[in-house]
Structure formats: structure tokens, C-alpha cells
Symmetry: C2
Subunit: 471 residues, 2 copies
């Protein structure tokens, strides 16, 4: 891969495409400044391959996306669609001499329809910005990745992003009613329906959601919305033993689903507390964060969770019905990754296991950390079995990095052995390219490849991602 500082002539066919686009697009859309190109090379995942694009195109309309894709098809130029660059798996890393198709300027809310509980947005709008706009009218779009302040709806759609509340409310796919998609050759299709149910043809919406920009470019999303849930009660419980916390998770989820159920282990608690002074118990082995937003008889739901935590040996349990106080606890959880990142390179896992296997995964992760002599910060969406054990090494510690990478593989192995998945919500991108075939098998990979080839015969859309072959 080239670095942006190497001087390198843009190949002729790419230059031809850029010339065409320069003429066709309004001024300022097509950027080739080396500093700009450099800043669009990677997402937030450390240490994955990334090329240097020939251009970044910051589109402002579906028509402009069509022009880019037509030119790219004509000249066989790779196109990497990109949202806010908040990905954690290299899914939007650039490729050499390709075009980065940035959707960040397309941020409009096109329609809000409270009667049919739908809204239509452009893909560049930030998840949190949409939530805030909707909240003004008492409406809600549920999916809430921890990165919601700086991740876009388009990126959420591309990765089928999860979050904290998806335990009760589902993931991005459950909230997408339909999409406008520009195909590789520049044609536009609309998927889905305005109705609650439709079986009119193959479910192209679900296919595009989670396809990481390899099948088409999402230029508009019709999202389901609903009234804001009632104010939530938040429950925090500290445990002296990580296994106890894991077992409490399993039992809590046997009842009425909490609106979220997060876990942080000792090292994560300490990393956050050290940074932010939130009065977390740094002697605890685990912290569980739970929420209930069941309006009627809310206390009963929270009391049941309290009782389970106590019975599983919680050393401290506290409940708050104050939204700000509850939000502060959640903030502790959202700070987990930046807290670890302060001390070196942080590489997040994103494994999922069947919920009953959460205690086993926590135990495995501990053994792996010890065996590999590496630091692992375990936290995540315990309630749906989706954990983000995070590996840390010093910036200049090659040996530490090597040990961390071994631990990374060990955790994936452990998750698969427990009947799990190698990615619960971040996606395959580049980070899991060796692992996707191991999880789904060669024949299912063939099917994925066949679909990719059918929708993108020239192989220009985000090439080399999701363990798909280059053409």
C-alpha cells in the first residue's frame, strides 16, 4: 500500500474517471489534497491495511452518487463508501487509487411521519443528531451504538449496528423499513415498503443492511420510529466475583427483558475511574448496569433485578430513577473504550455467544489474558451475549502487540467453540476477514460471493472487504 506522501501518478483509467467527475460535479465535491486523502484512509480500527485514495468525493445528492458510480463502472475504479469513519473493523478503509465516496454532507431529515411511525433521512446524519431531532416531538429511533454521537445512520445501516438498548429493542436492521440504494452501475432502487408488513419479493432491505458498502450505496433510509419510552430506572450492581455477575446476567434475562444490561470488569472499571473519578468501586470484580423502562409498575421489574443481583452475591446495589444520574452511569460504560485508548493501542473484540454462555466467555477471556500475558479489558452488552473484550498494548511494544494479537485470536476461537459469532455488531471489514469463513463455512462464503458478483459484477464496491474476493 502506498502512503499519502509517496508521489505516485494516478493511473490513467482513474484519471479519466476523475476528469469526468470534475466536469460533471459541482465545484468542491472532488477533493485530492494529500492531507485530505490521508485523513480518509482509515476508520477507528488500529493497524489494518489501508490504501491511499486518488480522490475523496463528498456528495450532496443521490444524483451525484449515481454520477460517481457510473464513472467508476465505466472506468473500473474502486469506490469505498464512507459514513463518519467511526467503524471499528476497517470496513471503510480506503484502497489505493480508488475513490472514497463520503456521505458526510448528506445529513438531512427528509420526512417525519408520526402517524405511520416512519422517518426518512439521508445517510450522513449522526445517530445522536437524529435522536435529538426526533425527541423534540416525543419520538424515538432506538439503536444506540456507544459511538452514537459521532457515527452516522449510513454507517449504522452498513454494519447493522447494535448498541445498548438492542437487548430489548433490536438492532439497526429491525428499525430499517426501506432504503434508497445506488447500485454499482449507477441505477437506483428503492427497497422495502411504507407498510408494517410486506412480502413483495426478496428482502433486499435486510440484505443491504450489514453489507458494509459492498452491494450498493445507501443514499436514503426510511427508518421506523416510535414514541419515546417512559423514563427509565437505572440499576447498578458491583460484584466481588466476575462469574457471579455473569450468572446474574443469565438469570435476569430469563425474565422481562431489561432496556439494557451492560457489564464492565475490574480493569475496565479502574481505567474509567482513574480517568474520570466517578466514584466507581475500584475493588469490585465486575459492575452490572441495568435499566428498566417498563412504565407500569416499574418498581417490580427493577426490584426483581435487584433481588437477582443480591442473590448472586452483589456487594453493592443501587437504583436511581433520576435520568441524569442514570445517564452518568451509562456514561461510565460508554467511556470504556476511550479510557483504555488513553494508555496505548486498544483493539476491540466484538464476539457474541449464546446468552447462557456469557459466564463461560468471561472465564475464557480471563484465562486467555493470563496465558498470553496481555491486558484484556472486558466489557460489553452482556444481556445479549455480545462482548467487547479490549486488548491493549503500548504504542511501541511489538512483543506486547504480538501477544495481544494471539489473545485476539484465542478469544474468537473461544467464542466459536461456545456456539458464538466472530462479530456481534461491528462487522467483518478487514479485521475479521480470516474469521468469517471459519464461522460460516466455505459453501456459505460461496453464496455470499455469488450475491456480491451478481450485484457488483465489476467488483468496484468496497473491494476486498467482508472476506470477498477481488475481481
Amino acid at each position: 500500500m502506498r502512503t499519502p506522501t509517496e508521489t505516485h501518478p494516478v493511473p490513467e483509467h482513474v484519471a479519466a474517471a476523475l476528469d469526468e467527475l470534475t466536469r460533471a460535479l459541482p465545484a468542491g465535491r472532488l477533493l485530492t489534497d494529500p492531507d485530505v486523502l490521508s485523513s480518509y484512509r482509515t476508520d477507528r480500527a488500529p493497524d489494518l491495511r489501508a490504501g491511499t485514495p486518488a480522490a475523496v468525493v463528498r456528495v450532496r445528492s443521490t444524483g451525484e452518487v449515481q454520477q460517481v458510480m457510473r464513472a467508476a463502472t465505466r472506468h473500473r475504479v474502486p469506490v469505498v463508501p464512507r459514513g463518519a469513519g467511526a467503524g471499528l473493523h476497517g470496513g471503510s478503509n480506503a484502497v489505493d487509487d480508488g475513490i472514497v465516496l463520503s456521505m458526510e454532507a448528506m445529513t438531512s431529515i427528509l420526512d417525519v411521519d408520526p402517524a405511520d411511525r416512519l422517518c426518512e433521512v439521508e445517510p450522513g446524519i449522526m445517530n445522536l443528531a437524529l435522536k435529538e431531532e426526533l425527541a423534540v416531538d416525543g419520538l424515538w429511533y432506538a439503536p444506540d451504538p456507544a459511538s452514537m454521537a459521532f457515527c452516522s445512520i449510513g454507517g449504522n445501516v452498513a454494519t447493522n449496528a447494535g448498541g445498548l438498548c438492542c437487548l430489548k429493542y433490536g438492532v439497526t436492521r429491525d428499525w430499517v423499513a426501506g432504503l434508497e440504494v445506488v447500485l454499482a452501475d449507477g441505477r437506483v432502487i428503492e427497497t422495502g415498503s411504507r407498510t408494517i408488513k410486506s412480502v413483495a419479493g426478496y428482502d433486499l432491505t435486510s440484505l443491504i443492511v450489514g453489507s458494509e458498502g459492498t452491494l450498493g450505496v445507501v443514499t436514503r433510509a426510511r427508518l421506523r420510529i416510535r414514541p419515546l419510552p417512559p423514563p427509565a430506572s437505572t440499576l447498578v450492581a458491583f460484584f466481588g466475583d466476575l462469574g457471579d455477575a455473569g450468572r446474574a446476567v443469565v438469570e435476569i434475562c430469563e425474565g422481562e427483558p431489561p432496556a439494557l444490561l451492560e457489564i464492565m470488569d475490574a480493569s475496565t472499571i479502574r481505567a474509567v475511574e482513574e480517568w474520570q473519578r466517578m466514584d466507581l468501586d475500584t475493588d469490585a470484580a465486575a459492575l452490572l448496569l441495568m435499566r428498566s423502562d417498563v412504565a407500569v409498575d416499574r418498581s417490580g421489574h427493577v426490584a426483581a433485578m435487584e433481588e437477582i443481583c443480591a442473590r448472586h452475591g452483589a456487594t453493592f446495589v443501587a437504583r436511581t430513577d433520576d435520568p441524569d444520574e442514570g445517564e452518568a452511569f451509562l456514561q461510565a460504560r460508554r467511556l470504556a473504550l476511550p479510557a483504555v485508548e488513553r494508555h496505548g493501542v486498544a483493539l476491540l473484540e466484538d464476539v457474541g455467544v449464546p446468552r447462557s454462555q456469557v459466564p463461560a466467555l468471561l472465564a475464557s477471556t480471563g484465562r486467555i489474558a493470563e496465558h498470553r500475558g496481555t491486558e484484556i479489558y472486558s466489557y460489553g452488552h452482556a444481556g445479549d451475549g455480545n462482548m467487547h473484550p479490549t486488548l491493549r498494548w503500548d504504542h511501541d511494544d511489538a512483543d506486547g502487540k504480538a501477544r495481544a494479537m494471539q489473545a485476539f485470536d484465542d478469544i474468537l476461537e473461544a467464542a466459536l467453540a461456545l456456539g458464538g459469532t466472530v462479530t456481534g455488531e461491528h462487522g467483518v471489514g478487514l479485521l475479521k476477514e480470516q474469521w468469517l469463513p471459519r464461522e460460516i463455512g466455505a459453501d456459505a462464503m460461496d453464496v455470499q460471493q455469488a450475491i456480491k458478483d451478481a450485484l457488483d459484477p465489476a467488483g468496484i464496491l468496497n473491494p476486498g472487504k467482508m472476506a470477498l474476493r477481488l475481481r
Copy 2:
């Protein structure tokens, strides 16, 4: 199309495939008796084209399905997968000289895992049989097509079947965690995961669900289950005006979702009452059936619905917390189709509109009945905007049939004009083949065709369905 009584030599390549299968499969699997062949020609939709198969193969294992598909691929013989034949859109109608691949003997429940809320079943098991087995352990698989006593899980998966409770609990796709699928060439893949969330690759599960046997043969389904909901309260309300009932539907759905919300119009009420004597008010213009299974403070939810019905002019409102009594009211709704069928040929629509447009659809349907001079029985899942206006004509009334068919088209036109869909839960099959392209457009049809060709390059899987081209 041939009729089964015509003598017709089986074409040579088909005979070769059947010879192979006769040798390879256990005795009794491959059936060629003309009466048997005749009984597998159609599903429950009246008057659609149906061929006469060369053989019916009643498989008993995934391995046997693989053998059928390998032989079919080798000899280019069309294969129509078939569940219980309960479809309403011709999706499993046979094709001449093809194989009907009957899954009806594969009825096992392979696993029930209450901890992770999953079960695994073979596709031939009836929906209701599965429900009854699970209920013994207090567990529940939600989707409940009106035909649940005689429709199979495999058929439900093939059509992404809905039902009454999907207003609150979602459709079949929401309850399928993964599938075992035999591909056109006989290879087997597993889709999905045992975890709650996974983004490992394209969502093949959602693609196969609703693909009507055109992309692969489902040989095992991993379904989500949950604890049985608490006992429900059932509310019935009669209205003197159909529009009032429609407006009540819209307002009820603005609050906490009911567990079901069904509507029957005057002619449907009368058809059911005439047949079964259930003390329904035959002077009413509409009947709404509602259910709440919110356990805590259940009365509040039901009372809110009662109040809305009263405010919209309901002439009679009654509530029962007695499960048997509640079930009797539901039975009235489930009898709608057979009640109409007693008096001639009944052709169900399956249109969906955005919920806010339910009153408009009801009004349009009334105008269409009048304009075309035909009988339309309107009933359906009003709460999710999925209506089944049913056209009736006398068996020997060619003119009545012609008028009904015009009304059929008018209703589809009206649904599309209201932002709706031509099929909410029954599927495209043959019945909607002219309408699918009108709803989704030529470019989205091209995408569907490309996916079909990618997964079934020889075009042998349920050819000619879902508006896909024959190869």
C-alpha cells in the same frame, strides 16, 4: 399445462433423474401414482396455472433433499418445494414434468433450548403442532397465521408468514434465527447464529425467508422462542359505521400495541354468523377484535382501547378475561375465509397499507365492490394495515368471476396508490406476478433476478414463481 389424466410420456431427462432417485432413495419416497400427482398440483389459491409433476418425492432427511437436488441439477429437472400446501398464492403449484419435493414427512422437533430461547425443527411440522409442544414447557413461538392448524413451519418460512399476533410480536422473519438450506446444486449451508446478534456476513437468513422456495430448500429451522405471554384479555367492539371502526384502529395503534387487532366487515360478520351461530351482531357494519397481554395493570390497556372504541361510536363493546371465551371470538375471525368459501369460489386479497391509510382502504374497497357489482368480504389484520378483502363468485358464473377479477386488480391499484404493498404476508407466487414489478420497479426486479440466477444458475428451483424469468 397438462392435466394428470392426459397420458404423456415423461421426457427422457426427467426419466433419467427419476431412475437415479429410485435407486438412491429408500422405497416409498418417490411417488408417481396419477392420483397422488394430481393431489400435489396446487395449493389453496383458486384458478392459477398448475402443471402435473412427473413425481412427488416425500423426503425424510437433509441427505435425501441433497440427493434430489443433485439429480435435478444434473438432469435439469425443475423442483417445486412444498410444505403443507396451505399457500394462498400458488407459490407451490407444480410445474409440468417437474418434481414436487414434499417436506411433509420431516416433522421432528430436534431441539428445544429454553436457556437461549431457541428451538430447532424440521420444516414439515405444523405451526400449531409446534406451538402445542412448546406450550407444555411454558414456551412460545409467536407467528400465528390463521391457517396455523394446517400450515407448516417450512411454508411459513418460505412466505415469511404473518398472522394475528404479529402486530405486537413480529412476523416469521423476526422469529427465525437460522436455517439449514440445501442449495440448487445439492450443497448444504447453515445460515444465522445461535447468538442474539450477529453481523457475520450478508443476512442470508432474511434472504431465504420469504423467497418461496426459489433460492434453496429449507431443511431445518432454528426458531426463536420465548416464555408464553400472560393470559390475555379480549375485547370485542361492534360499530355501526365501517369508517368509524377504521379510525378507532388508527387511534388504538398510537398507544401501547395490542396483542392483536382484527377487523371484519358486515358481510363477513354475516357469513360467519350464518354458518356458526355465534351471536354476532349481524346488523353491525364492523367488528373489531382486540387483545392485550400486558400482564401488569392489564385493565388499563384494555380500558384505553374500550374508551377509544366508545369515542369512535362503537354500538357495543365487551371484554372478556376468560381465555376460552376470548378464543371463541378469535375463532369467528379465523372462520372468515371458510365461511365465504361455503358459498362459491373465494379469492383472498392480501394488500397492506400504512396504518394511517386503513380507513381509506376500507372506503376504497367498498367503492370498488359497488362499481364492479361484486361481493367483497373485508377482514384482516387492521392493526398492521394488512387486509384480506375476499372476492367471491359462484362456481359457474364466468361473468361474476370476470367482475371479481377486475375488483381484485382495483384493490391492488388502490393499495399501491395509498403507499401500500401488493402482498403483506401471503407472498407473490403466481397470483401477484404481474403486480410485484409494479410495486418494486424494473431495476429492483433486475436485482431480484440477479440474486436468483446467482443462487440457482440452472433455474430449477420453483421456476416461474415470484415474477422471476424462466431460464
